[in-house]
Symmetry: C2
Amino acid sequence: MVRRNMSRHEKVDLVQKAHKTMTGAEKRREARRDQVLDAASACFVEHGFHGAGMAKVAKKAQMSVGHIYHYFESKEAIIAAIVDRESELAVERFAELYALPSDEIAAAMINRAEDIVVTKSDAFQSALNLEIQAEAQRNPHIAAILQEHDKKIRGLFSNILNTKLGLTDADARTELLMSLFGGLASRVLRNPGLKREKLIPLFQSLMHNLLNEPANA
Amino acid sequence: MVRRNMSRHEKVDLVQKAHKTMTGAEKRREARRDQVLDAASACFVEHGFHGAGMAKVAKKAQMSVGHIYHYFESKEAIIAAIVDRESELAVERFAELYALPSDEIAAAMINRAEDIVVTKSDAFQSALNLEIQAEAQRNPHIAAILQEHDKKIRGLFSNILNTKLGLTDADARTELLMSLFGGLASRVLRNPGLKREKLIPLFQSLMHNLLNEPANA
DNA sequence: TTTTATAGAATGAACGTTCTATCTAATGGT
DNA sequence: ACCATTAGATAGAACGTTCATTCTATAAAA
């Protein structure tokens, strides 16, 4: 880790966008768009996609409503851009996992599970994800974006399981791993008192089950 | 199963409400309320809590907007009533599990998982749950209702694991089981092509892991 | 001097809620 | 049994607000 501290979304830029080839004007435009996306994400987490009005978003972004429409053609376009950005962030996180030595992958994943349960660091992320998922449920355009990115992530992760851990049925393992992690994140809402001490041994046992070839294979 | 076919919510009535002691007027009132709740649930799944207006709900319920306000003091009260009703339904479903002989419980749960993945029978239910969860995230009143009911359900289920299957750490097992099921339901949205054949063996292995005492205990 | 950035007012629709009016069902006194 | 009176059921218009979006105008940059 030699890189300087970067915000969540500068990181995304590194992966996706060729900043080097951007003119000054394009960079400024991109920065403004990110400013809107940040503000909108915060508002949407707080009030929901349909509960948060453009006025609130503009206030949070510290620009006028009209100005926002200079960068996004509609509210739905903002939502779609947020989903895109978050999905790319997720891809990145899995890419980090890929860089790890094989014998550290399981430990890293258990660490992540602990983060979800015990710290509030991912609370915003989880909340936004939930909001996105609820929207995807009723908006086919959002659903399509989500599915496309999920496909990429599944492929990435299956590849880790297959090539780095040498596992069969990598797709099924991926699916259940993702169920478990996604489910755990939602559980925190329904049971805020969740204590990690009791959970971890069992969780580790499940991970062992999913990250090792069964005897009967 | 000798009982006649009943709607999802008549069932709820059986458990919770003392229909016998209700006057005719009270019964009619309750029926109207349910009529609103049914319509509102459908609208909320389709457009989200804040995306669906009272006009749409009224149309679906085949009554006037003013009439709805005769039975519910606000839109939020409708949301709260829906959350209550759905939570009671969930309690009921776990109660059915409780009635099963010990050696059939695991199989029944695996069946349920298959239902989630393969049939659309629970799709409406899952969608509504997701919507509720998203709302709970930003509305503390809804969150409180959800947490209260979840506590009841956790207790019920831990009790099954503890007394009927003789397991230690029943709370932790419950928590992970619920994570897994809840997570699986959301995965269907992100990966609609999900095939159950590949999933089931691994899923069974996880269930075995969670529903049996580990060797090292 | 022509784009681009920016703010803010204008617009028309939709929102949740309340108000008013009518119609139906129950109640009570005789 | 019958009318008077009250309570509840129901519809729809009305209200004030907020919504997403567009329009107009000005300031800055290229």
